[in-house]
Symmetry: C2
Subunit: 348 residues, 2 copies
């Protein structure tokens, strides 16, 4: 329903949506009272409240979040900075963040980081100084963006697991994929493999990637040979390319991959090299992306609760914004090894 003008200026009537002034006039109260009603504030009688809500429904009034924010209302919007949302990890984390934020009444912005996003760029991606931000910082673009945020920005970030000697930041949150990689490696060793090779996802920092570290941890603890990690990317193709030379070596019987897409590429390269999976070669992925259970062979992989992590990340930010009232940060599941068809004992 369109109505005209508002109280302070009636010399140029224009058609637009109902504002708080329109509601106030029709309900016969001040706009401050309407504000109290829509924000659940005290000092409003039940009769007045009911009358105002009735008028709100009749006029189809919708609050203007921009004006609320500008006038100093509570922070109710957040921008998510993230890299490629088509990658399972980022997509699932974003899904958790968006759901939790929306449920808490926040509006959610998204801004995708490119490889070459510059420092000056980052602040300009925010709607206003002081905008709340969540960063999905699983790769170096995310980490760079996190560092480039101005000091006035309330932020929470989902990051790659910190190294044990890394800086402690209470607003960062992660999944322990180092321990998960160690566990997956130990599983392969327990099947009888002499050692395990590793195709790595790129690190988000200059430090050794934590999944790589966990793989090395387990091999070191077992006194097994420690091969050079094979650098991969994020895609099946990069996994395929990473192992083509390695697979000529028949003594290679087990490969752990930094994500499921890498595993898919590795399995294809193995088939082309005439290696049977898991008879000749066991392949283990990471993340348990949705198609994994239906591959041929179905993929042994590590399930990571990215959605849970995203929800928890928002919970952390919410506590940062409103320590008194925000609910407890929700828990997220620990990594879990999911054994399927692609892994088994080494050939006799």
């Amino acid at each position: 329903m369109e109505v005209t003008g508002h109280m302070p200026a009636q010399d140029a009537p224009r058609t637009r949506s109902a504002s708080i002034w329109d509601v106030a006039r029709v309900a016969g109260v001040s706009q401050q009272t309407v504000s109290r009603v829509i924000n659940g504030k005290a000092r409003v009688s039940e009769a007045t409240r009911a009358r105002v809500l009735q008028v709100i429904a009749e006029l189809g009034y919708r609050p203007n979040r921009l004006a609320q924010a500008l006038a100093g209302g509570p922070v109710r919007s957040v921008t998510v900075l993230t890299s490629d949302t088509a990658l399972y990890g980022a997509a699932a984390t974003l899904r958790g963040m968006e759901e939790a934020a929306r449920t808490a009444g926040f509006s959610v912005g998204i801004s995708v980081l490119e490889r070459n996003s510059g420092q000056a760029d980052i602040a300009l991606r925010l709607n206003r100084p002081g905008e709340a931000v969540m960063v999905i910082a699983f790769d170096d673009a995310g980490v760079r963006a996190l560092r480039a945020l101005p000091a006035d920005v309330p932020v929470a970030a989902a990051v790659e697991r910190r190294p044990d000697d890394g800086p402690d930041d209470p607003w960062q949150i992660w999944l322990d994929d180092r321990a998960a990689a160690a566990h997956a490696t130990r599983y392969l060793l327990s099947l009888g493999h002499q050692t395990v090779h590793y195709v790595a996802i790129p690190s988000s920092t200059s430090a050794l990637p934590q999944r790589t570290q966990g793989w090395q941890d387990a091999l070191g603890a077992a006194g097994r040979p420690l091969p050079e990690p094979l650098p991969g990317g994020w895609s099946p193709r990069s996994g395929y390319l990473a192992v083509r030379s390695l697979l000529a070596d028949r003594s290679v019987t087990a490969i752990l991959c930094g994500n499921d897409d890498l595993a898919l590429g590795v399995m294809r390269a193995a088939r082309e090299a005439g290696r049977d999976i898991p008879g000749d070669l066991s392949v283990v992925g990471f993340d348990d992306s949705p198609p994994s259970a239906y591959l041929n062979p179905s993929l042994t992989t590590v399930r990571l609760d990215f959605e849970g992590l995203g929800r928890a990340c928002f919970g952390l930010l919410h506590r940062r914004l409103d320590p008194q009232n925000a609910p407890a940060v929700p828990a997220w599941s620990e990594p879990e090894l999911i054994v399927r068809e692609s892994s088994g004992p080494p050939p006799a």
Copy 2:
């Protein structure tokens, strides 16, 4: 850099980011002049402009988009309404939308639709009356949201292809997956298959899904038997379940699937039923999601340019918002059949 106060009220100094008033004071001009500089308006001397830009850089001033919008500046924000962003079609479309919008200087909001999102919900997801919106309406939740938007909302939508007798809306855009399904069906027939079965994705409307329609078009035109379409969902599991009974019938030699995940499930069910792919059964997917080339067997599928569609959708919205200045709507690629290992002639 934090500075205090602003011109009209200096009796309660507070620390916050630089505002347009701070820039104006330091540069020795009015805030209107600063506004002219940052918006590239006329009536600013080169010397004044340079001075203002210098002060902006020194103070680290960042415009407040909320205030800009409230004060009547040009629309520079858009909210994307979409269903499950982990599905390839929606994720890729979103990626195209976000990239195009960001590049054009828009801030992008995202709001994920749940199955039970109600009509009253939709308007409340927008930041203000009149907010620009893009809807990814490939499923029924998206279509319902599109219908529920208030009349004052400038909107562009990526939709399932319209039926030929459907309503003509200049602000809707789609990929011709009806023609693509017909083409894929004809391809399978040309391999020698007597007929083609079809596992359907859910329709976004009460009309026959357009991919289903295209499959039927091609079978009808070739005078081939027309099997009942098998209702599937969006996931591998639903594809797996959809065909378990069908695969007992050895005369079934070709299955077209409404998306790649369905194809993955179908292929798994085929293997469990002892059907060789493509020796006994050809399987064709839809969308060419990134893992398709690396599956075992690699998947024959129809490539759809969702990213291009997303970019074009933003282009359409931009023209709706600013007919004089917005660039031409970018073209997007036509669907393309990608033949890989999963399809071949029927068994002799």
